[in-house]
Amino acid sequence: MLIELCIVKRTKCERENDMPRQEFNILIFNCGSSSLTLKIFHVNNAKAIEQIFSGKAHRVGVTGTEPSFIETSLNGKVEKRIIPLKNHAEAAAVALENVKNSRIPIHYVGHRFVHGGDHFQRSVFLSNDIMKQLKMCLLLAPLHNPSSFSVILECKRSLPQVQQYVAFDTAFHSSIPPIAFTYGLPKKIVKKYGFRKYGFHGLSYSYVVKEAARFLQTPLDKLRIVACHLGTGGSSVAAIKEGHSIDTSMGYTPLSGLVMSTRSGDLDPILALYLMAVYGYRGEELNDILNRKSGFLGISAFSSDIRDIIKHIEEKEEDQSELALNMYIHRLKKYIGSYIVALGGIDVLAFTDDIGVNSWEVREGVCSNMECWGMELDEKANHKAAKDKISILNSKNSKVSILTIPTEEELVICWEGINLIGDNHDAAV
């Protein structure tokens, strides 16, 4: 019996020894709330990374006038296929079919998982145990986690032999100290439910801070960075000291913090109770209102898209568009100020994701009248910020570097994978 076990163990080790190939391909899945991005990276023996395939499913699970579709790009050839995609699992199935047709061998699959709760502080390879723990995290981010989980299951079905791993958006914020993550709630409630600030967009932040340090040729441990991840869905801001997150605007869930496209961001904690007690709202109704009908959509009453809102302002429409944009900027300025004090000063202000990289209006609003922090925006540079590479937006006299850094979450998931594969190799040896 003993001998048998040893043999089994040994063969397993041998197999693991073979596993960390010199060259391999990683397939990355990134679930958005109504989209699914996939990319294949080739990693060579010098750990250089090359993207060899990309695809994106749009309007996943969205009922509307326009149909859902999936776009793939291989060797410069772009294909678009209109196909009903009821949910993320269906989108993943179609995407995996495309991957198979491309005949690119897949050696690892990496997934983004939004909320790892208290269970995960770093990326992990999937095992039965890990699957159980992921299942326990599903309700922590009801808009995101279940769809990622369904994509994982789909990959297990389609690529049963391939090792998979997950990278967490919450992991980057696990360095936030207790004074910043603790809510002022009774001890027994916190103990029972595990309420604390987790923070999100961690994969994006980890990319942005590394890129900022590389670009400025300054070691990360010498930088105090306030990074703004301003997405078309969710927006957040984080304070990063020596490469580690020390505070962020999203909380236990992605509902709190900045004004977002359909999420309210910060509210008076009593407000929900007041609405339930005085107007008879039910919990689920409020959940729906605050997550899906608030933010830009709630203020403007016509669109959740900042581009529409800015267009209305330019066309001098008489509505609440200007208020919506002013609120977005005002809230963001407040967070930036509070994080500068938390950091004891600021070296870099970084903007990323769709709104952060594309909207000069937002950046101009945020940086105006902020000279007190040593920031000075170069208006021309701000107008000209590139969409696909890092741009410097500050004037020469500015004490703070103001940058746009297009984010690459999939690349971070790939880096995480390379580290995991390396660790696995070391452990096996």
Partner: protein, 355 residues
Amino acid sequence: MMLLFDPDPPFICSYSLGSGTSKEHMQRFTPDWFRNEVDNMKSSKVKAIGYLLHHGGEEITEPVKLLTKGSLSKVENCVRFLPEQNEMTLRIARYCMKVLPEIPHVLFCDTALFAHLPAEASTYAIPYKLRAEGIRRYGGDGLCHQWAWEQINTLKTRLYKRVISIHLGNHTNIAAFKNGKAVETSIGFTPIEGIISSTGCGDLDTAIVLQLVSAGMSLEEINRSLSSEGGFIGLLDKQCSLTDILQKSEDPNTNFVRDLFYYQVKKFIGSFISVLGGVDAIVFVCDYVDESIELIEETCRSLDFLRLKRREKAKVQDDYRIFSEKDSEVDVFCFKYDKLNILTKKLINLTTKEL
């Protein structure tokens, strides 16, 4: 004699106007005591009564206002915003106006200073139909912040255009002034939003409230956890006030709560500096001056990088202290706050002029 009523905690303060000096009698409020007192009033020489209203809703937009029957109905309309306290203020004002119709009755409103906040500061990002119901940031403690602003701007040392005022008390909160106008406050729709207090949770992810609802807790239970069983006492699981956590302690848990509280105060100061585009003066208005020195000094240290030049030791002037050097770009003051005393003086000034 002058009377002043404050519903939080229920308190009546009476001042006898003697020979030029005023004497103060305080009495915990009980309905019996109050009825007796009012009966005595009829025979004694009550010159005026002041009432504190902690939440003036959308309609009460003047900080100090002579009450008439018409304005009483406005008070009625804002009971819903802070039912327990506002109801009490309303009942007592109504009763006193009936028994003593000939004297001035004055309403002091704590939200009025913030009635004209810029829209981007007062609006929550929620659908219009909810905002139309009067759901917005009302702020609070306005009488205190107004007083703080007046104090430093009557010193005439400098013109302070951008001012941040911090009331360090059991409901610590912060306000920002630009050119004399209030432009921000840490208090929201209710005083629970903002900084953690001795029993209030401060800022919170609303998803937590909704999760507690779906877990089956009643609205009253949740309200208690957030308003009266949260904050310092919730974190430490024992009775605790601001003075217990303000200074370094032997107990690591108490120290943790102290650090957390300091951190929140600092962050709010930073966020309001952003809103103001800089700051000329920071005023701490303290219920407990000696205990607050440590926090003020630490806050000054954390703003060193804004060219705030600290004094080695605070300079004590007549009724205030100054923590910054003469050539500091930001001045830091600390005043002792005695709410009832200050309001009664206001009441005396106001009514004796009119009489």
